[in-house]
């Protein structure tokens, strides 16, 4: 599904995230409250949430959340899904009528996994890679269909509206997750399209992003070299693909992947000890075109946790806090205080220094 006319719309935003590292599941109402206190930063032009641990009974299946602009798109997509996947369950995403939301697309979800025949046809051993290719194919080639969530035991809920309205629309308080990330958007133009809202997600990765990537042009061309087609013309899509490429495909340690996107300055590298200097020098030489320049604050969720990252000179706000097993990240400190009384620690992460919060090692999800 391509919306060329939408173009590349810069936007400001509010982002928020929380994780309970003990694996306890937190109701969606908490993340909605976090967002609600940052109303100044958002508009009714886009909001969304991602929850991890919301489909425990379906944890072995990929959960596809799909938007359809037309019945024809649904027929074409389902034909493809049923041909290449074993579909365990197929249903409408439960929603509630909200007065301010009138133009929602058809929203369906599918719990599925690729058949072994489908994998063999593509000569792929890896389910994830197969799913990634399928999602890219649907989004690029089937007019009117858009897969906005494709991970396991996680799901994205997003659309055009204020964060609270979108939460109400998707009945978010009925879900529980050990980790939530959320986004409210302040775009410069009217996007008018639900797919353009955040989080942007691929497989288990989901990203919310506050910023405008001044290096968008080269980041996109870099990703194209590795077979990623940027169809949405959004900065956030680029961020998501970078994370996917660096961490899943190139298997860089998470911390170093963050350092690729927000690299240390050369004069900092020059002052490092020999071991680190070698590492970071090579990292910058090899991944120069993957460095993300310009203002950004992102939170990226994945199966076992989340990380927050700012651009290396911290041109957008991002605050982190910790209380017991809970870790919070938000654009504004006040948002954290609205859901967390007297946190143990509140800090302002340095530009380029990731905040990584993961489930404790022994926690199974």
């Amino acid at each position: 599904m391509t919306y060329a006319s939408e173009g590349h719309i810069p936007s400001g935003c509010a982002i928020a995230a929380l994780i309970d590292r003990s694996g306890q599941r937190v109701p969606g109402s908490v993340i909605v409250q976090l967002m609600a206190s940052m109303r100044e930063r958002v508009t009714d032009l886009g909001a969304g949430y991602a929850g991890y641990g919301i489909y425990p009974e379906m944890r072995n299946y990929y959960a596809f959340h799909i938007m359809y602009a037309s019945g024809a798109a649904q027929v074409q997509t389902e034909e493809l899904l049923h041909r290449h996947f074993y579909v365990e369950r197929d249903e409408v995403i439960p929603t509630r009528q909200v007065e301010s939301i009138t133009d929602s697309p058809l929203l369906r979800r599918y719990f599925l996994r690729p058949t072994s025949i489908a994998l063999a046809e593509k000569r792929l051993k890896d389910d994830d890679e197969y799913v990634r290719q399928t999602v890219m194919h649907i989004n690029a080639d089937i007019d009117g269909a858009y897969v906005f969530s494709s991970g396991r035991n996680m799901g994205v809920f997003k659309g055009v509206g204020f964060p609270e309205s979108i939460a109400e629309f998707y009945r978010l308080h009925e879900y529980k997750a050990y980790s939530w990330i959320a986004h409210g958007r302040f775009p410069t133009n009217t996007p008018g399209w639900w797919g353009g809202a955040h989080p942007f997600s691929m497989l288990n990765w989901s990203i919310v992003h506050n910023g405008e990537i001044s290096s968008y042009g080269i980041n996109r061309r870099y990703l194209e070299m590795f077979g990623y087609k940027c169809t949405l013309m959004t900065d956030t899509e680029v961020m998501a693909y970078l994370v996917d490429l660096l961490i899943r495909v190139h298997e860089l340690p998470l911390y170093l992947a963050c350092k690729v996107m927000a690299p240390p300055f050369w004069d900092q590298i020059d002052r490092m000890d020999e071991h680190d200097r070698g590492t970071f020098e090579k990292l910058r030489q090899v991944y120069a075109s993957a460095a993300v320049n310009g203002p950004f604050g992102i939170v990226c969720g994945y199966a076992r946790g989340m990380f927050g990252l700012n651009d290396r000179v911290k041109l957008r706000p991002m605050i982190a806090a910790e209380k017991g097993d809970l870790v919070y990240i938000a654009s504004e400190e006040s948002a954290i205080h609205s859901v967390c009384d007297s946190p143990d620690r509140v800090w302002n992460p340095r530009g380029g220094e990731p905040v990584i919060a993961e489930l404790y090692r022994e926690v199974m999800v």
């Binding site: 173009g7 590349h8 810069p10 936007s11 400001g12 410069t188 910023g211 405008e212 001044s214 290096s215 968008y216 042009g217 080269i218 996109r220 061309r221 870099y222 194209e224 070299m225 013309m233 495909v249 190139h250 298997e251 860089l252 340690p253 911390y255 170093l256 690299p263 300055f265 050369w266 004069d267 071991h275 070698g278 590492t279 090579k282 990292l283 910058r284 030489q285 090899v286 991944y287 120069a288 075109s289 460095a291 320049n293 310009g294 203002p295 290396r312 000179v313 041109l315």
Partner: protein
Amino acid sequence: MKRYETPPEFRVRIDKDLCTRCKRCTMQCGFGVLSYNAEEDAIAARHNKCVACHRCMVYCPNSAITIERNTHAYQDSGTWPVYLRERVYKQAATGGVLLTGMGNAMEYETIFDHLVLDACQVTNPSLDPLREPMELRTYLGAKPKSLSFEMVKGRCDLKTCVAPQIRLETPIVFAPMSLGAVSLPVQKSLAMAAEMAGTYMDTGEGGLHAELYPYAKNIVVQVASGRFGVDEEYLKAAAGIEIKIGQGAKPGIGGHLPGEKVDDQVAATRMIPPGTDALSPAPHHDIYSIEDLRQLIFALKEAVEYSKPISVKIAAVHNVAAIACGIARAGADVIFIDGFRGSTGAAPTVIRDHVGIPIEIAIAVVDERLRREGLRNSVSLIAAGSIRSSADAAKAIALGADAVAIGTAALIALGCRVCMKCYTGNCSWGITSQRPELSRRIDPREGAVRLANLLHAWSRELKEILGALGVNSIESLRGSRERLRGIGLDKTTLDIIGVKPAGVGY
């Protein structure tokens, strides 16, 4: 035969009231234009020898000299511009190939002048290079597609081996200019400036003079079709090695340094007997194919034990994208692309003005093709051939170059007036002359400071450009054509260089 001669191009006017007959101008002119006439107590000028190099004018203590274009009327003709008529007279008289120096003199559209850069407003902040870090450091060399790491005792160790790189503190290098084409003081100025600015100079095909060895870590040495000056010490001393296939000013054409210019110094450096002609064949006679190039690349890598990058320099010709991919596959670490405006010490005018394609297009198509072939990481690209300002450099980098090379701009910094008479050996500024009384006019220390100033100025301007673009390192501009827009370029050209017209947003 007088009736066939063309009138002088320029006139040297000497104001008799201001002139004190100090005769300095007669000594300054390398072309023998000016002399003192004792009978008339006046400076006499042979106008037809004047090349408008301004040396006399600049050195006249009383500003008594003015050089003017000799405007003589010809009947107008759209078909026969004056210069073409005058070339016919010359060739009818001599039967020879017309020679020239410097770069393309024809008025082709310059694409750089039809490209504009972007800047940030509101939605993303511009950055202030006077207050915030702004990085220009660039590494030239092959990079792997990805890096892999392993955890060893809680420490993350790099497993991938990365090929040797040349480190530049600014993405501007000096283009190859050989000893012979330019004088030794010019090469010394370039070497010293390269050291001061953290970049490199390139020997060209004339070998590395003994006095330049101390600067070798900032020098790239060339292996050209004549193999002049190439030995083990030469290869091992340098920061990098460049195989010269072609030159933008004369693609497909070899070189000919006449025996008169081969003095003891040039002879020793080129490793040929003094007074003999130094002929560079048009092709390398051991490279008739891409696989032959691969053999030379690896012969050189073997010779230096894989310790430095190997660059291949080609002229921008029609099929440059495919050729560059072949060069990347052949194992080169750097590809130097010289556009059709690139300069030369000597070339047939017909070749200089009519062969090759603009660097803007060449760099764009090469970058794009390398990406499509998945080879872009395996080579660095240097764009050359009319990089006239920091704006051109920024635009070339945005189109896809890792760095740019400057030749003419560097010579202009040393006083060159672009009179295009390099091939005569009479350069009054001492830049392209081997006549000791002329070449000693360049003081390498002073020249180096001027060149380093130029690099410093352009680097600061690049930082201003980056700041306006809201990025703080050059790699975020490299290949980012989204930050360029075209004005007055046709759709086909825009599509070929991958740039949108002005007025289109992201």
